[in-house]
Amino acid sequence: MATQAPTHAAPREFILALDAGGTMTDTILVKGDGSFTIGKSLTNREDEASSYSESVADAALQIGLDSRTVHTNTSVSIYAGTGMLNTILTGTGRKVGLLVTRGFEHITIVEGGLTYLGQTQAEILHQQLHEHTRPLVDPRNVLGVAERICGGSYFSGSHRAPGEELVPLNEDDVRRHTQTLIDRGCEVIGILFINSFIAPKHEHRAKAVAEEVVAKSDRRLPIVCSSDVAPVSRENNRVKSLLFQCFAAELTREALLAVEGAAREDGYNGRLLTLLSYGGAVNVEYQRLYETMVSGPIGGLMGAQIVANKLALRNVVTADMGGTSFDVGLLVDGRLGLRKDADFAGHRLALPMVALDSVGSGAGSAVWIDEYRRLHVGPDSAGAKVGSCFKYDKLTVTDVNVALGYVDPSYFLGGKIALDRDKALKALEETVAKPLGIDVYEAGRGILDVVNTQMRDLALAMMTSKGYDPREFTMICYGGAGPVHMWGFTDGIPFEDVITMPWAAGFSAFGAAGAEYMHRYHRGFVELVPNGMAHDDKQALADRLDAVFRGLEEDARNEMSAEGVDVRHLTFRYGVYARYIGQLESFDTVLDFGHLKRAEDVDRLVDAFEDMYTKVYPVGARFPQAGYSITEVYLQAVAPKPQPDMREYPLSNHEPAAAAFVGERDVYHAGRWVPFKVWQMGELTAGNVVNGPAIIRDPMTTVVVPPGKRIEIDRFLCLHYR
């Protein structure tokens, strides 16, 4: 197969982006004029290539083409699959052997003790029931190798230096244990040594020794070093990243190659790309494929990046309300917020991940009252059963919206599914109104009040906890239920603007289409910037930092070149993780000025740290007197890639066309019945203004516009809620 990279691709008409969820595989087919259409298929977990092909064919059909014609004219196809998720959850990955620093043989059993990941506060408190997550490696196949490297301390300069060898690598251990793991049928061997993120020399030497042993055997199994997978501090997280890579990545690669094969057989002449958990896309040759583990929710944020670029929005808060949860993310100065440790299925990884906060309030979330008359929303969710109004046996948030009139029971999915409003009302009455002794519609109002407040608090906390002012942010609402509740979860927050769009339900797949082709490289780096640091020392530090950055750039060029990228067009973004000396957590400090060349650049680095820190914490939390410590250096390398463009339409009158008016219906809003005008989304045009009380209906979603509010449609068909 040719290894043609996206940057080599000739301009073609279409961009394909697919988001394979647990139930459906959604395709966004972006046309040359920036408009797009959506295709769907049922996800086939055993054969993702088939569900990929079906979904693309469905999208092609919407515009009167066949999938071969689309594929032949597609410049790039991006696919976020479910393979790795399934492999981890079902425990069906490769048989892994691990070589670890002697004395740490139980690291995968103990896993730092993190038995509470993913639990609610009530579950965390109820410790009797805590248990460890099932290890991804047979504990008997974790073998110790004598070696020790010094990682350095915050007393650097007064004690042993970072990277100093304390105990030499025992190569006999490596040989003997590698042979044992081969004999036991292991299919891949991982190596994790303490402090390898500072100095990988022992890991790399052990890998070379192990490869010699493998070469002499009749087996061909890969050897993977933790310092190559996740060269960052905290061995308990690093070993999880290593295990994910060993256990699941290669199987996932096989599944992705199968999808790519299907696309190419159907005429596609490029590489299939997939999404990284920290934003960006890579092709399936990417070494650290485990970094694509959690890619589903980030498509929306990348979609927000496209919208932000088009509308020149500086800061964005995203609100994604789907069936089971409400997720909030931030885009500050166009950049995605990241967190360093991703929790996934009971494991904590050393994996940067787009920072998303969630509450379990989705449209399908079950609503219930406990014996103390307390209202609960979730965690049970109706999924495709929608609610009592369709095929679920519990009251859901959608039921409440149907009961109060916000959602039209005869136009759900454009009328493909008929909902039963009487059943929704009955469930609301019996589940909430009667137990609380209140009017059924007041019960509905109260439920929405609670749900909307939880979501609003989450969005506010996401911004204010980082020191941001909502007045400097635009909220972009999406997900099938986002536009339904937009009025509620934005109420009272002085956003600069609130936006949704007709394609809100397919926004994540739309975002995936716009992902950058990007890699991220990290390197552990222990250096201090004490107060009163001499000019010459600063210059020396700047030189050392610059050398590390140049090394990472070289890594990026080599790796991306091997993936077929034309590295002449790479652009780089630079950053460090830094802290006050004595602190344990390092903070992402973006270096807009790029390389450090002069002593003064160290001061600029410190200024960047202080600027970031004081945005998050009160003045009293600053501690510049302590000096600073740099603990990690990172680089983002970005290659050009075809991007979707939002089509621009001529602006028409404020007044919507008569054809757009559907009718009028009563909605129980804010404690009274209010007549809402109903408009058809597809008939509205750029420039139209819809005044509330109104509802804009669409087969995929419903936009609620309360009295006193309005929707203004801009030239890109974005809906501004004002």
């Binding site: 004395g103 740490f104 043989e105 139980h106 103990v110 730092g112 003790g113 038995t115 509470y116 506060q121 009530a122 408190l125 410790q127 009797q128 805590h130 248990e131 460890h132 008997r140 004598a146 020790r148 990682g151 301390s153 915050y154 007393f155 004690h159 042993r160 304390l166 105990v167 030499p168 025992n170 303490i194 402090n195 501090s233 905290r234 061995e235 308990n236 103390y372 307390r374 209202l375 209140i438 439920i447 009040d449 609670v450 608090d457 989450l458 906390a461 204010t464 906890s465 980082k466 222990v526 000396i581 602190q583 344990l584 957590e585 903070f587 914490y617 009160p618 009293g620 939390a621 302590a626």
Partner: protein, 738 residues
């Protein structure tokens, strides 16, 4: 016409002093039997959904505070291991909403606030909005020990205190003569370290400069402690801001009434939980803890003695769902580090209660109102000397808590909650010290790792697991070796793992305890190290196991001083990975050791040199059921996974196994049956209880007690309740004196 909500809001209006608030709270609660006289949940009933929305707002404040502020920390305990907490309390210090972390420390809040009220802080130094108060004192601040440091920020609206934002965490070094955060040798509170009653340390959410300077001058880890201080305050500032916004949104009258209803509501829920889970009656338990001070020093004659601390708890449960813990009969306070004051003692007592009875409620002071405690004046939890040391109550109060938790477990099992009841233990451990590097750089430290989590005990249907829970923080997390090495420059790990066979045995066994080996490298001019830890299994009475299961084995430390470790490394030899291997390597000569010591009690501060080793083993948990009923397949699995040694399996479980050519262990079924039959037969030789009682009584009458035990009995018998019980059980004459 006023609505119900408006009517209830009219009540309780007006500005009051802090002392007046306490008087009203106490009186109304006492007279009505309901918190603050709240007999009807009027606001909740009038609009339950608004009420839930209100609480959701409060809770979000403290959750967000922790998630943001903890990253300011210097200590791993504060940042991710759960050794921190942010809370919102009422004006009287009653908890309203809590973040994750140190839940049971809520017991300390009313102590500190009541002290400020009694001492009329409203007048002097004055309590204004966004002021900062700090304390780590046991007597006046309710702190369990000086390592736990609290920050209080008053939230004042219209001139009246309406709430406090509270942040606390366990700091790295407390500034005592014995370095670390749990000084193990203290004669009185003047050796506890940097102890301060509630004091105003800042205004407008900013600490005074002198406060930072105190940390620098009075502790050995000034930079870290200042950062932790900033962490506590950063979270409080977020809560402070959030609550002001909530008051603005809901109105002050609603806030003042609703917070009381929140607490009263959760009090009722806790009572319901107790009724559902417990059997009314009296549950008694005892535990002991060694404080070995004899022949340690020549300065403080009054402390030159070995102590056996007696912990005695009688837990009474009534039919209405109320519980009372009576600690009468526990030891008197002594000239050692292991005393506490009532607030700190409650912090331990409520651990089990919160886990079991609060987890499904709004977690508030409701638990403190439902479960009451009694510590008679003069006892180890309520000294009648205000200068008693309280440096490390946690060393013995985990045993006190475990006694209560065992009572609960017995009730849960009896009621049929089989999946809930387990062998409880909490044998935490920490290594601490201070030193001076070769260039004169001083440092102090605590390695918190095994405060972060311990094994879970066995259930009646399954084994426990290693490092699974941390009863005192909920957030089980032992941190990362790489970070502890970053913080403590002279200690390098040679091992961090579980210890085979280190568990309470049984039909189902407890989780294996954990062990580390710390290699001392270039300690420079000086390095003194000691240990703080629970020692819950120093005697077998706490970690008793359940239904015939074995108790958890006790924690122990091994020090190897004067070794040839570097030579061993240079020659390509392997180094010991755990506490038992240190002993084994020394015994068979692989490691030459000038001074090998095994510490089954707290080692004193030891001077450590280059290439010395310090190893600890701790955190094991008890078993459930008779070991000879353990399924042989599980015993074989233990052997094949290296969790158990063959000798253990044969001797304790009666399982005989042999290794095949591939090294796998296989069952010898006939030999196993014979071995188990022999064990059963041997048990019939046990002494009848009546004979045992008679023989023991003779020893009591003859006063055959070693000195620490005689001292212990005398102290406990100075409380009438224990005196009656002791004399009654042994049927002693009225003139008998211990």
């Amino acid at each position: 016409m006023a609505t119900i909500e408006e009517k209830v809001l009219e009540q309780g209006a007006g500005r009051r002093s802090l002392e007046q608030m306490f008087e009203e709270r106490d009186r109304l609660t006492r007279e009505s039997g309901h918190y603050y006289g709240i007999t009807e949940l009027s606001l909740r009933d009038a609009d339950p959904l608004k009420f839930e929305r209100f609480y959701s707002r409060l809770h979000t404040c403290v959750l967000a505070a922790r998630e943001v502020a903890r990253y300011v920390a210097a200590s791993p305990g504060g940042r991710e291991m759960g050794e921190s907490l942010w809370a919102l309390t009422t004006a009287e210090g009653d908890s309203l909403a809590l973040s994750l972390g140190f839940f049971s420390h809520t017991a300390a809040f009313p102590v500190a606030v009541r002290y400020m009220a009694t001492e009329k802080y409203d007048d002097n130094p004055g309590i204004d909005d966004a002021d900062v108060f700090c304390t780590d004192d046991g007597l006046t601040g309710g702190a369990p020990h000086p390592g736990d440091t609290y920050c209080y920020v008053p939230i004042v609206v219209q001139g009246e205190i309406i709430a406090w934002a509270v942040g606390l965490n366990h700091i790295m070094e407390a500034g005592a003569p014995v370095a670390g955060s749990w000084p193990g040798f203290c004669v009185d509170t003047f050796m506890d370290g940097f102890v301060f009653p509630p004091m105003k340390t800042g205004t407008k959410l900013k600490q005074a400069t002198w406060w930072d300077n105190l940390w620098k001058r009075r502790t050995r880890a000034g930079t870290m402690n200042i950062l932790d201080d900033k962490m506590r305050l950063a979270g409080c500032a977020m809560v402070h801001k959030g609550v002001h916004e909530i008051v603005h949104e809901f109105g002050l009258p609603y806030f003042k009434r609703a917070v009381r209803e929140v607490i009263e509501e959760s009090r009722r829920m806790v009572m319901d939980n107790i009724k559902a889970l417990m059997i009314p009656g009296t549950y008694t338990g005892v535990a002991f803890r060694v404080a070995k001070y004899g022949d340690m020093q020549k300065i403080w004659a009054q402390a030159d003695r070995d102590n056996l601390i007696h912990i005695r708890q009688e837990l009474s449960v009534d039919g209405k769902g109320r519980m009372a813990a009576d600690l009468e009969g526990s030891s008197r306070w002594g000239q050692h580090a292991f005393n506490g004051y009532p607030g700190g003692a409650d912090c331990s007592l409520y651990l089990a209660m919160t886990n079991t009875f609060s987890h499904n409620t709004k977690v508030t002071a409701g638990i403190n109102l439902t479960v009451t405690s009694h510590y008679p004046k003069g006892c180890i939890y309520n000294p009648d000397n205000d200068f008693a040391s309280f440096a490390n109550i946690w060393a013995q109060s985990m045993a006190m808590n475990s006694v209560g938790f065992y009572s609960i477990n017995r009730a849960l099992f009896s009621r049929g909650y089989l999946e809930e009841a387990f062998a409880t233990d909490g044998d935490w451990d920490g290594v601490q010290g201070a030193g001076e590097l070769a260039d004169g750089t001083p440092y102090g430290f605590t390695n918190f790792e095994y405060v972060g989590g311990v094994a879970s005990g066995a259930f009646c249907y399954r084994d426990g697991e290693p490092v699974t829970w941390a009863e005192w923080t909920q957030l089980c997390n032992i941190g990362n070796a790489e970070e502890f090495e970053y913080l403590i420059p002279t200690m390098f790990y040679l091992g961090r793992k579980t210890l085979p066979g280190f568990c309470g045995h049984g039909k189902f066994r407890g989780g294996l305890g954990q062990t580390s080996v710390h290699w001392i490298v270039d300690p420079g001019r000086h390095l003194g190290m000691s240990r703080g830890g629970a020692g819950t299994a120093m005697t077998t009475f706490t970690a008793t196991g359940m239904s015939g299961g074995y108790p958890a084995p006790n924690c122990f430390h091994v020090t190897a001083r004067g070794t040839n470790l570097q030579e061993l490394i240079d020659n390509g030899g392997h180094t010991p990975r755990d506490a038992m291997e240190v002993i084994e390597y020394a015994a068979d000569g692989r490691l030459k050791v000038d001074k090998l010591e095994v510490w089954k009690y707290d080692p004193p501060e030891l001077q450590m040199k280059h290439n010395d080793l310090w190893s600890n083993a701790t955190g094991a948990a008890g078993g459930w059921g008779d070991p000879i009923e353990r399924p042989a397949s599980l015993a074989l699995q233990d052997l094949n996974e290296g969790s158990m040694k063959p000798a253990f399996v044969a001797a304790l479980y009666g399982v005989i196994a042999t290794q095949n050519a591939a090294g796998e262990w296989e069952l010898d079924a006939p030999a196993t049956a014979a071995r188990r039959a022999a064990i059963r037969l041997a048990r019939k030789d046990a002494k009848p209880a009546a004979q045992w009682w008679q023989e023991e009584r003779e020893r009591v009458v003859r006063r055959e007690f070693i000195t620490p035990i005689a001292d212990m009995y005398r102290g406990s018998a100075s409380f009438p309740k224990f005196d009656r019980e002791f004399r009654g059980f042994w049927q002693l004459p009225a003139d008998f004196q211990i």
